[in-house]
Symmetry: C2
Subunit: 160 residues, 2 copies
Amino acid sequence: MRLTTKGRFAVTAMIDLAQRQANGPVTLAGISERQKISLSYLEQLFGKLRRHSIVGSVRGPGGGYRLARAMNEVTVADIIAAVDEPLDATNCGGQENCQDEQRCMTHDLWTNLNKRMHEYLASVSLYDLVNQPKAKAVAATIAMDDRLRPARRTNVAVSA
Amino acid sequence: MRLTTKGRFAVTAMIDLAQRQANGPVTLAGISERQKISLSYLEQLFGKLRRHSIVGSVRGPGGGYRLARAMNEVTVADIIAAVDEPLDATNCGGQENCQDEQRCMTHDLWTNLNKRMHEYLASVSLYDLVNQPKAKAVAATIAMDDRLRPARRTNVAVSA
DNA sequence: CGTATAGTCGACTGAAATGTTCAAGTATTG
DNA sequence: CAATACTTGAACATTTCAGTCGACTATACG
């Protein structure tokens, strides 16, 4: 998973959307103005978000965008994955070949890092972001651990 | 903190260096050949690593690079910070100004995310990477879950 | 119906970051 | 001195970032 400013733009815009959708669809023009993000850039981002079924659109006057799911069902990971989309590529070429000699020693590290980051980002929903006067995400974060899940120690780690 | 392929190249090169420095300085030409990274790109990366006192150089025949500290004193976070250098990241311009109306609601999120990532990357040293026959980092990592995510969505493996 | 609204699509742009390549140095060993 | 290897800097193709533009489609409303 890549972390760039692009994902941040998308998250910022989504927060704006989540905050205002109670009054009906939210226009990109409005988000653009409030968040100081170029309208056309928003169009690109929301095109991707729409194709990933994270938002839905309503055309025509009075139209705009709405969330496609409940706020607490949309995580930051979803948003970032949608806009940063196509990329790609665990270090070692494609899947397995790595290096003979070293067996791609960084593989585990990066896979693991990705997992960590994804877990964290997936633990924060739009709901968390909107309903937080201040540092609440921090608390939500620490709470994330493995006690939610009934013992299921499968070893998923390997796959690419 | 930004996560790109650049940091991964640097970490890969540093692992190679750490593994071989017992026999004296390691040349970039060797790293280049073994790790399939362009020599000139390595030169750029190691220039930064040197300026950050993560490695030291020995000129002349038989020269090359050495670690400037013990393996367990060099973390992945150090390496990435050195090469990705100009990193910044907090959304709101510099420090505080954010947005009046929203007070930069993403601020906490990103700050926290950065902290998390940094903590994790700072918890893994070169020593850990070199002295791990196989999945040790994975073991260290644990037991976190993938929660809601329906197991497989094609984009499991993200990566830098 | 016509028009204004607002999303949809595609192409195009300038700036920056990625990686690579070339070239000219300097320090050190032998 | 000559070979080795780091040091520096410039030029370069490619990709991504972020924004712009123009044309199109769907729809609410007067």
